[in-house]
């Protein structure tokens, strides 16, 4: 969704257009779900968080300010809902994230264009990346995911997470450095014979 489309949708929501909310859900459901999933690494939790996020948005439609970035606002609500969800969980060890990480792409089909060797290599690398992301702190993961997958500018991430620009830059630098070091240390992944 372009910035102009986003602004128009925000205006319609603020004006009380009943169909605007459904359009918003359709436009952002994947993004909201994606961030929630990256924060929790659990599909059920991601579904729950995404629904909670949209319900909060629905209740707060009247507070939307024209000119304020709609997507930034939505990510802010999603991030807070995910953190609330994680805090409410009695036990959420980082090791558990690492352990469940390989399941993340279990339902995804292998790239049909790639040959079996390339597909295996790609799958192995994906698992290694999952393992590295699971080791990130919540803040590092949120910053990296919003920058890498959701294409938010550093300024927008700072606004969505409620932190300073310098902190976002620092989190982003640390997360990429961790990723680089962990992947270099791991070297080429052994072929364990599993296929996604």
């Amino acid at each position: 969704m372009s910035r102009e489309d986003e602004a128009r949708l925000a205006d319609r929501l603020a004006a009380g257009d009943p169909s605007a909310f459904r359009e918003l859900v359709a436009a952002y459901q994947r993004k909201v779900y994606g961030l929630a999933y990256e924060m929790t690494r659990n599909h059920a939790d991601a579904e729950d968080i995404s629904q909670i996020t949209f319900m909060k948005i629905h209740r707060a439609i009247g507070t939307i300010k024209p000119g304020y970035g709609l997507s930034t606002w939505i990510y802010q609500i999603t991030h807070n809902a995910a953190l609330d969800h994680i805090r409410k969980k009695p036990f959420f060890p980082r090791e558990a994230l690492t352990a469940i990480a390989p399941d993340r792409h279990a339902g995804e089909p292998a790239d049909p264009a790639a040959n079996p060797e390339q597909a295996a290599e790609s799958s192995s690398l994906r698992r290694r990346i999952d393992g590295v992301l699971a080791k990130f702190s919540e803040r590092e993961r949120a910053v990296f995911v919003l920058r890498h997958y959701h294409d938010l500018k550093i300024k927008e991430i700072a606004r969505a997470l409620g932190v300073s620009l310098g902190s976002v830059k620092s989190y982003l630098f640390r997360s990429i450095l961790k990723l680089q070091r962990e992947l270099d240390e791991a070297g080429p992944a052994p072929d364990d014979g599993e296929r996604p």
């Binding site: 994947r30 999933y37 990346i129 830059k169």
Partner: protein, 288 residues
Amino acid sequence: MNRCRRWQKRIPEAIYGELDAETRESMERHFAGCEGCAGLYHQMAEAVRKMEARPAPDRPPEYWDAYWDRLEARMAHDAAPARPRRAPAVRAWAYGTAGAILFLSLGIFIGRTFLRTRPELPPQAGTASTGTAPSGRPGLERGEGTAALAVRASRYLKRSRVLLLAVVNSDPKDEDPFKLNLPLQKKASEELLLEAAALRKGLGSSDPRLERLIADLEMILLQIANLTPDSDETDIEIIRAGVEGRDILFKINLNETVRPKQKAVAGLSPAWPGENRDPARIRTAAAA
């Protein structure tokens, strides 16, 4: 070195294309002359490139097709005005209260009917604040039970016995009689005299033998209460003669022997508090 750190911190911005053209050119100029920074940039950029192997998490299309319906259903459920859980919660609270009241009532009924507590003991003479009933009358004037009266008499006798043993066992030849802690003995005598008066009033003519014993004890207690610092061993000797002449200690023991049941009914321990620690009694027991 500081310049290197400054440019290194901006590598993520360069990788994701957030640097303006001018800053980008400055960075490239630095990297051209700094192998360390250039190497780090390429390594980090390569790590980000590898992220292509991991697409953003997604679900099958059918999941997204039904997403709106699930969300709408949940919103409708959460927006429902009446929550069915409220009513049972109130009812459970009411049941809990009713149950507690019933349980309490049952406990009071059982306690009053089957587990009658022992009669409340009348206050002892000498305990000034408790010697009078709330109505202002002495406890014995309120028509106390026979068992309670017997217990009170028993306590009175035991306490008197301890006092008499302490006095009559003192040896004037070996020790100063006033080492007996005369003020304490006098005070105890005065208290026992008050108690004797109350007991005699309560007993009436129901137990002539006990009444006589109390009257005999009153004489001795009066002598002890009237001892002065000028009194000598002759006064102690007179008291001892009175105790022996009237067989008071024997009568007290006899009274305790023939009334064990009354004590048991009252549920009291047979010993007067502190009696066993009385040195005079210990001495008497050892002598016996």
